[in-house]
């Protein structure tokens, strides 16, 4: 007996929450094998991503700690790897690209990697520069890929200052590029002060902030025409 749509979604979400990579793979394959039950896009958004949302809740309530979250992320990627190639481009949501990295001098990348994962799930093209990224590299990668968004992470009050420089460098070359900041010492006020276009306090909010930023830019462009 094959599973119903609800059963399959629930099983996918649970496999993520229980960081069961094998189950994620098997269930994702099951989605592909039963195209009438569920589309790959639905499976990602309402199965895998829904599971990750629950993981976020468990993390906030101290039931999960970072090790569990990282394993859940692995499970999610295991499923995503199978489903993603079968999602038609037109359906893949925003169809936008983001350059992401931890700023020079900062080797903290656990939070950045979670943010990256959320963009991956949401179907963005993600260019991950890693950690300790020299300031110019953000600028170069943005120009090379023509990405709509550059997302920078800083975990130290001190390395945070580098982000201000990158923003100035990028905006000089490409004023329409949108910049999002995050990381423990960064606040909405700091992001504003540095001239960024967006800020999110958690991986969960990063993607919706990115989409909002792009929405604002498009409105602005439309109003100019």
């Amino acid at each position: 007996m094959s599973k119903s749509k609800e059963e399959l979604l629930k099983a996918l979400a649970e496999a993520v929450v229980e960081y069961d990579e094998d189950a994620c793979k098997e269930l994702s394959q099951e989605v592909l094998d039963n195209p009438n039950t569920l589309t790959p896009m639905e499976a990602v958004m309402n199965g895998l991503a829904a599971g990750m949302e629950e993981v976020g809740r468990l993390y906030d309530t101290h039931e999960y700690f970072v090790p569990e979250v990282l394993m859940c992320a692995d499970a999610l990627y295991a499923g995503l790897g199978i489903l993603r190639p079968h999602i038609p481009k037109a359906e893949a949501g925003v169809n936008a690209q983001v350059v992401i990295g931890s700023i020079q001098g900062d080797v903290h990348d656990i939070g950045k990697n979670l943010v990256k994962m959320m963009f991956d799930v949401a179907g963005w093209g993600v260019h991950d520069l890693g950690r300790d990224v020299p300031l110019e590299q953000f600028v170069e990668k943005q120009l090379d890929t023509n990405s709509e968004v550059v997302a920078m992470s800083a975990m130290m009050t001190t390395t945070m200052l580098g982000m201000k420089k990158v923003i100035a460098m990028i905006k000089e070359k490409n004023p329409e590029c949108l910049i999002m900041l995050g990381g423990a010492p960064v606040t909405k006020d700091v992001a504003n002060l540095f001239g960024a276009d967006g800020y999110a306090d958690s991986a969960g909010n990063a993607v919706s902030e990115g989409i909002k930023m792009i929405g604002r830019l498009r409105e602005f462009q439309a109003s100019k025409k």
Binding site: V66, P67, L70, M71, D74, G105, I110, D132, T157, T158
Partner: protein
């Protein structure tokens, strides 16, 4: 009342003997940029020779009026010595601490050279200790990362975190290897004649690990380290620690050090008045950002009222301090700390 020298004050402090007033020092870096500037070098250079390392430590403590000197300033010495390289950021206009560029990809790939204590900058650190000890004015502190944090310097921390659940035996064996390194290096500093030690297991707080995991994964190794040491030794963890205070206190350290995230008054209640407690002002938020030294005074008094035996920063001082803020830290500790602290009496 006999005035003690800086060195005497700190040594007696760790012996829990009565002293004249609260010592002002840290078990983490206290180099300030004003000292580095006065020496006419760049921050990136001070990590590279024994003379600059020791010289900047001495000059900083002189300028600030601190009772101790501590080297090195970066966490990359051992990782560099075992072959993971070093990024110094010589061309950056900002102050950046050296970091490790090439971590091993898997636990199995890690290959620790037996003579790591003789490689890269390890001899420079040794020589810096010799200079500091010979100088004799200040208590000399040595530190090493805890095994878990050290492991995170040479392999991807993510591997370790996930492995702790999925691959427990391999991670356990690896942490045992790291613990051997910690013991070898810190025992060596002990043999050079430093006055106190600090084990910084800073990546292990509850921001990352559950108390349960801390208990099984971190505590046994720390206990082994502290039982191997004769010199007074501190256990420092930054980030979230409230939930693991009792566990930290079981490791056998002579003193516990916390950062600003710890609820210190509560912690003092939990550990009682047998163990020295150090902490816990936010180094950046207090010494760099505060505009008014009177605000620093308030912070320092709060630490003392909460029950510390000496007011320590929660982490390395960020070098770009305001010297007036440092002076307020020193002055307030000495004046407001004239009265006895929970563990240490006064002459």
């Amino acid at each position: 009342m006999a005035e003690l020298t800086s060195k005497e004050r700190v040594i007696k402090f760790f012996k829990k003997e009565p002293i004249d007033t609260m010592p002002v020092f840290s078990g983490m870096g206290t180099v300030v940029i004003q000292a580095v500037n006065e020496m006419g070098v760049k921050f990136a250079q001070v990590h590279t020779t024994a003379e600059l390392l020791a010289g900047s430590a001495l000059k900083s403590s002189e300028m600030c009026g601190l009772d101790a000197v501590v080297v090195p300033y970066d966490m990359a010495t051992v990782a560099q010595a075992v072959g993971c390289g070093l990024t110094l950021y010589e061309n950056s206009a900002d102050i950046l601490y050296p970091t490790v560029p090439n971590k091993w990809e898997t636990l199995e790939a890690v290959d620790i050279p037996a003579d790591f204590m003789k490689r890269a900058r390890m001899p420079i650190v040794d020589e810096a200790f010799n200079i500091l000890i010979k100088d004799g004015r200040f208590a000399v502190g040595a530190w090493q990362l805890g095994p878990f944090t050290l492991a995170g310097q040479i392999i991807e921390l993510g591997l370790l975190l996930k492995g702790a659940k999925k691959n427990k035996e391999a991670v356990e064996a690896f942490l045992t290897k790291m613990t051997d390194i910690v013991i070898e290096s810190i025992k060596h500093y002990e043999s050079l004649g430093v006055d106190f030690l600090n084990i910084r297991e800073m990546g292990s707080g509850t921001d990352l690990l559950s108390p349960k995991m801390w208990n099984s994964l971190i505590q046994p190794h720390l206990t082994r380290i502290f039982s191997a040491l004769k010199t007074p030794a501190v256990l420092h963890i930054c980030g979230g620690t409230d939930m693991i205070v009792p566990l930290m206190n079981q490791c056998g350290a002579d003193a516990l050090s916390f950062d600003q995230k710890n609820t210190l008054a509560k912690t003092r209640e939990v550990v009682g008045n047998d163990v020295i407690v150090l902490g816990n002002f936010d180094p950046y938020g207090t010494m760099v950002q505060m505009e008014n030294p009177a605000d620093v005074e308030t912070v320092v008094k709060k630490c003392i009222d909460d029950g510390v035996d000496a007011v320590w920063p929660g982490c390395d001082l960020w070098p770009d301090v305001k010297l007036d803020n440092i002076k307020a830290w020193v002055k307030t500790s000495k004046e407001y700390g004239k009265k006895r602290s929970p563990v240490i009496g006064r002459i």
